[in-house]
Every structure is written in C-alpha cells, then in structure tokens.
C-alpha cells in the first residue's frame, strides 16, 4: 500500500513537472520582466552592455547599435544602472574574440553582449570568452551547426537568425502579386553554395510552386554583386523584353537590375525585389521603381538579445530550464513595400523590451 502511495506521488510529481514545462514553453512568449522582482542590489550594480559587430559604416550594423541604445532607455525606465559600448572588429575574427575576452573580463559577471560572429568558426570562442567571465551572451547569424547555446549553459543564452527561406518567399510573393500572378521573371541568385543564397532561393522556389503562371525566363548567380546582376539582366532583356519582374537575392544585385532596366527604358515598368533594405532600394520601393525588400531588423536583434541576456543576469529566467526552441530561434524580418517604405526611411521602430521573447518568430 505504501509502495503504491509512493508510486502515485511519483507519477503525480512527474505529471506536474511535465505540465509545468509545457506551460512554461507556452507562456515564455508572454514572459514579462517584472522590475519589482529584481533585487535592489542588482538594480544598483552597473551592468555592462555591448554589441560586437563588424563595423558601423554598414547601415544595417548601425541599427544594431541603435537597438542597444533603445534597450538602454528601457533600463533607465526600470532604474537599472548600466554602461554600454560597441566592440568593433573591423571584420577581423581574432580581434572580435580579443575584444569580447577583454570586455567580459573587465565587467566580470556583469557583462551582457550581442554578438554577430564574423564567421561561423568563432561563435564558440566568443561565447566561451563570456562564459569564463560569468557574463551572458546572445549570438546572431553565424555559428557552426554542431555547436550552440546548449554547449555553454547558462552563459551562451541564445542564438538567433532571421529566416532566409521566409525572406526569399515573402519578396517573391510580393513580386508575383505585383505582376498579377502571371508573367516572366528573371532570377539573380546569390553566391552559389552560400547558406543565405541557398535558403533565399528555396523560399523563391516555394513561392513559384504556388504561382503556376509565373515562368522563369532567366536564372543565374550574380554573386551578390551589382555589376554581375547588371550584365545578367542586360543579356536576358535582349531575348525577353516582355519580362514582368526581377527577383534578386540581395539589394546590391537589385541595384544592378534597376540600372539595366533603366538603360532599356523599363525602370518602373518591371518589378524588382531584393533583400537587406539598402537605402537606395528602400527609396526605389518608396518611389515605385522596386516592389519589395526585407529588413533584417537590427534594432530588434540588438535590443531583444540584450533584453533576454538581461533577464538571465537578473535571475528572472532560468537559462537551464529554457526549452531548446527558446535557445535557438528565428527573428522576424520586416518586409518593406510601398506602404511602409517611407515610414521605414524616416522613423525608428518602437519595441516593448519588457517582453523579451516577443522577438521570436513563430
């Protein structure tokens, strides 16, 4: 009898734990930072924020820094003391790791960082540098497939990346809708063998399958380059001047496609899409010369990654119990079309950092 009771208790306990984690996974998306639950000693500790990036001359990367500053405004609002800095690697992998090591060591356990590893291979070294000092880090975009946040729990909190398949699909869909669902398109793919290029092309193919009246009249790689896309589109226009759209895997190539169309007197008559939200293409979208592009939303990446790391540092979330899909996930990208292009150019989006997992795409 006693044995049965023990067994029953065990089963009940297990069920509760199971139900608990289930509830946790569902509720995490709505998890809210409650400033009242943060001990005063934590609020009075100066927490060091950093974004580790390739170089601020790139407009996208500059938005990551702004994302950190937006999160800092939130920290002000809850009375958290902080300092912040940009770790600029200038595209040098060794320098990025050195920067991180120094930053983490100086701030001790009170370091929080967003990092865009310069290349896959250094993602682990960056997280390790942070783990040794006891701080918290979230990485974005690049890491090898076989290592991840789970290898350095709790310090490597998350790894996120915008979903390139969805980006490719969304721009293709916008283009096909612009064309009325039928007609010929040219395709300028990214560098063959490149993960982003493969995934974006996969998204395009998914959209093509949904639009049977769209035919591909020319498809080749433009190697991410403006000049090569110009040559491709110029050549294809010779045989198919009745083309309705040009899908490009990035905005640099969209610039080349627009230049070729302008030369042929077709700019504004043929739809063009890209990915990256380069200023000239967003302007072209606003002015009706291009159909769509995608912003990877650096504000969101920078701000929310730090918010999640902050929640871990403040003890509000327990990294060890976070389910895997909350350790590695996709962040939403922003599709820019004629409706929101002007707004995108003139304004900075607003976020509610009190719900850090709101940045997770479904």
């Amino acid at each position: 009898m006693k044995r049965i009771k023990v067994l029953l208790a065990l089963v009940l306990a297990l069920a509760m734990v199971g139900g608990g984690t289930l509830a946790l996974a569902e509720e995490l998306k709505d998890f809210t930072i409650d400033p009242a639950k943060i001990p005063q000693e934590k609020l009075d500790t100066v927490v060091s924020l950093a974004v580790s990036v390739r170089g601020l001359e790139n407009p996208y990367i500059a938005t990551i820094k702004v994302g950190m500053e937006m999160f800092a405004v939130y920290l002000d609002s809850i009375g958290q003391k902080y300092e912040m800095q940009v770790l600029d690697s200038g595209g040098d992998s060794n320098k990025e790791v050195d920067n991180m090591r120094q930053f983490a060591a100086n701030a001790g356990g009170n370091a929080l960082a967003y990092s865009d590893p310069n290349e896959n291979a250094i993602a682990y070294s960056l997280a390790e540098a942070m783990a040794e000092a006891g701080g918290f880090i979230g990485t974005a975009w690049n890491k090898p497939a076989d290592v991840g946040p789970a290898d350095l729990t709790p310090n490597w909190v998350i790894h996120t990346s915008p979903d390139n398949v969805i980006n490719g699909y969304n721009t293709a869909k916008a283009l096909f809708d612009y064309m009325g669902g039928k007609g010929k398109i040219f395709v300028c793919e990214g560098m063959l063998g490149n993960t982003a290029a493969i995934d974006r092309a996969k998204g395009l193919d998914q959209a093509l399958a949904e639009y049977p009246d769209i035919t591909v009249a020319g498809r080749d790689t433009g190697n991410w380059a403006t000049a090569e896309a110009l040559t491709l589109v110029e050549t294809w226009l010779g045989k198919d001047p009745d083309v309705g759209g040009v899908w490009c895997a990035n905005d640099n190539m969209a610039t080349g496609a627009l230049q070729a169309l302008e030369k042929a007197g077709l700019k504004g008559k043929v739809g063009v899409t890209g990915v990256d939200a380069n200023t000239d293409i967003v302007e072209a979208v606003r002015d009706g010369f291009a159909v769509a592009t995608v912003s990877s939303n650096g504000y969101l990446q920078g701000g929310y990654t730090l918010a999640i790391c902050y929640a871990a540092w403040a003890g509000l979330i327990d990294v060890t119990t976070l389910p895997p899909e909350y350790r590695e996930f996709a962040t939403p990208a922003l599709l820019i079309t004629k409706e929101n292009a002007a707004e995108y150019l003139s304004s900075v989006p607003e976020f509610d950092f009190s719900k850090p997992f709101a940045c997770k795409a479904d």
Binding site: P59, D220, E228, L230, E234, G238, K263, T279, D280
Partner: protein, 339 residues
C-alpha cells in the same frame, strides 16, 4: 663536292623548309583564335538562333565588351614585355569608386564634373607608375608589386566612400550609359578609341617596337642604348591608364561609385589576352590578338547565359572552353622557334 647525304636536301634547303613549316604553324596559330570565335558564334546561333544573333543582343555584347577590352588592352602591353599585372581588381575598383565620390552624387558635396572623372583616372595612372617604378628600381617581380597594390587600391576605394556606395546624379554621366551613336553604346566608343590609340602605339611608334624588343631580348635594346627600365615603367603606367578608364566607365555604367566593380575582372582579362594568342613569355602577339580574345570571352559568357546552362555547371563549362581555346593557340606557339 659534299659527302653524300641521306636526303637530297642541302642545308640551305632544309633551313628554308623549316622556316616554311614554322611559318605555316604561325599562320595556323594566328588564325586559331578567329576560328574559335567563329565556332562559338555558329554554335550559339544554332542553339539560340534569333535570341543570340538579335540586334539587341549584339548591343548588349558591345556594352559588356567595353570594360574587359579596356582592361585587356592595358594588360596586353604588360604581358608583351614578359611582365604580369595583378592589380586590376583594385585599380579598376578604385577608379570606379572615386568617380562616384568626385562627381555630383547623393552622399558627398564634391561636384567636380569632368575634372572628377579625370582625377579618378589619374589615381590609377599613378598606381601604374608606382608599380612600374617599384618593379624596375627595387627589382621586385611585377606580379608581386601589382598584387600588393591590388589590396592597397581596394582599401583606398572602400575608404573613399566609407561603405555605402554613392549614387551618381550628375545628369550628363547618368545619361551616358543610355547614349548611343550609330547604334553602338557610348562606353564602347570610348573603348574603341583607346583601342585605336593602342594599335597606333604598337604599330607606328618607336615605343611600340621597344615593347616587342623588351619581351624578346632586353640585351638587344640595351646594346643600342635604349633605356629598358624606362620602357617598362611606361608600359605599367599605360596599363594603369587603361585600368583607370575602364574603372571610371564601369562606375558610370553602374550608376554608382562601387569598389566591387573591379572584382573578378583580372583572370578573365588574363585569359582573353592569352586566348587571343599573346605569349605569356612576352615578345609575341599584340593588341589585335587581344580584340579577338576579348570577343571570345564575352561571346562565351553571353552565349552560355542565353542558352541557360545550369549555373552550377556553367563556370566549369566556361573553363573547359577557355582551356580548349588556349590549347589551340598556345600549344602551336610553343613549337615556333623564332621568338
């Protein structure tokens, strides 16, 4: 009176026969590039018919031909003296970047107009001069010097506009890529003009003769009191001029200052020069060979694109065809004794 020979030929006759044979080989070699070009045109016309042989495609080929031709022209003289110039990606890219920065654009207040175009070209000329001087006076192989300058120029080009390419808004320069004369794009006319100047230099000036002589045997020139060093420096400077013009035109064609314009120009240019029949060991070939070589490379890229070869295997096919063309032209050349 001579002792009996196994063949009835005298030495003089044998020599004459050998010269004739060599002459024949050389003629075959001379026409091989033309034959390759003709074969490509026939194959692509057969495969794509109207699409390939159309007027619009011819204009597109002429448009795409201009910049590789300019680059290959500069390189031809360098290769004729037995040197090599690997700075192309950088010098062309730097000029393409600078033109965007210096003329009326949407990012920088400088609005130097035509002077800006000249300054952008001048940058590459100075780099060519520097490559020549360092190569000659510090006795460093030209490939090493020019390779180093490739990086220097790329860096300077990128620095000039700090990441975000400036869009050219000078109305005259914006209109240029759309300007045609006799159905041929303006940019191609510039390339043709430079081509004519290069032919003139090669055929009708003493400098042109010296270039051949340096490639064949420097000691001869030294013996007659010509400064070989000066010839070499001038050749690299002339190459820099061609690369600069190519870069500026590329920037105008793209409609923006863009240092990446120079990427991937170098090896196709080297291939065009060699496919055209100019010997890498120097002293043989010339500007006219290079026209055919550039035509082969341009027609090949254009034709394969129109045929719609899967992009994963296209590059490989392109390589094989180039290899075949080189084998046809260079293998014969190697047997020719007289250099």
């Amino acid at each position: 009176m001579a002792a009996k020979q196994p063949t009835p030929m005298t030495i003089a006759e044998e020599f004459a026969a050998k010269v004739r044979r060599d002459g024949q080989r050389e003629r075959v070699m001379r026409y091989a590039p033309m034959i390759v070009l003709l074969a490509l045109v026939l194959i692509f016309t057969a495969a794509r018919g109207a699409a390939f042989a159309s007027f619009t495609n011819m204009v597109a080929i002429l448009n795409q031909l201009a910049i590789p031709l300019l680059v290959a022209l500069g390189l031809t003289f360098v290769i004729m003296i037995g040197g090599i110039d690997l700075s192309i990606n950088g010098t062309v890219g730097m000029a393409a970047a600078l033109v965007g920065v210096l003329v009326m654009n949407n990012r920088f207040p400088l609005n130097l107009g035509f002077l800006g175009v000249l300054l952008a070209v001048l940058g590459s000329v100075l780099v060519g001069l520097a490559v020549g001087l360092i190569h000659v006076y510090l006795k460093i192989p030209s490939f090493m010097v020019s390779f180093a300058f490739m990086y220097v120029c790329k860096g300077l080009g990128l620095l000039s506009y700090a990441g975000q390419p400036p869009k050219i808004i000078d109305p005259l320069l914006v209109a240029l890529p759309k300007t045609y004369w006799l159905g041929i794009p303006f940019i191609t006319w510039v390339a043709v003009a430079v081509l004519l100047v290069c032919i003139f230099i090669q055929e009708y000036t003493a400098f042109g003769r010296y270039i051949y002589a340096v490639g064949t045997d420097e000691t001869i020139l030294r013996a007659v009191g010509v400064s070989v060093n000066r010839v070499k420096v001038m050749v690299f400077t002339l190459a820099g001029l061609c690369f600069g013009i190519a870069g500026v035109l590329y920037g105008i064609r793209l409609g923006q200052g863009d240092v990446t314009a120079g990427n991937d120009l170098m090896f196709p240019a080297q291939a065009a020069v060699v496919v055209g029949g100019t010997s890498l060991s120097g002293g043989k070939g010339g500007v006219t060979n290079t026209i055919v070589g550039v035509l082969i490379m341009t027609v090949l890229a254009n034709g394969l694109l129109l045929v719609g070869v899967n992009s994963y295997i296209k590059t490989g096919i392109e390589g094989l065809i180039i290899l075949t063309a080189v084998a046809l032209t260079v293998a014969h050349g190697a047997k020719v004794v007289s250099k």
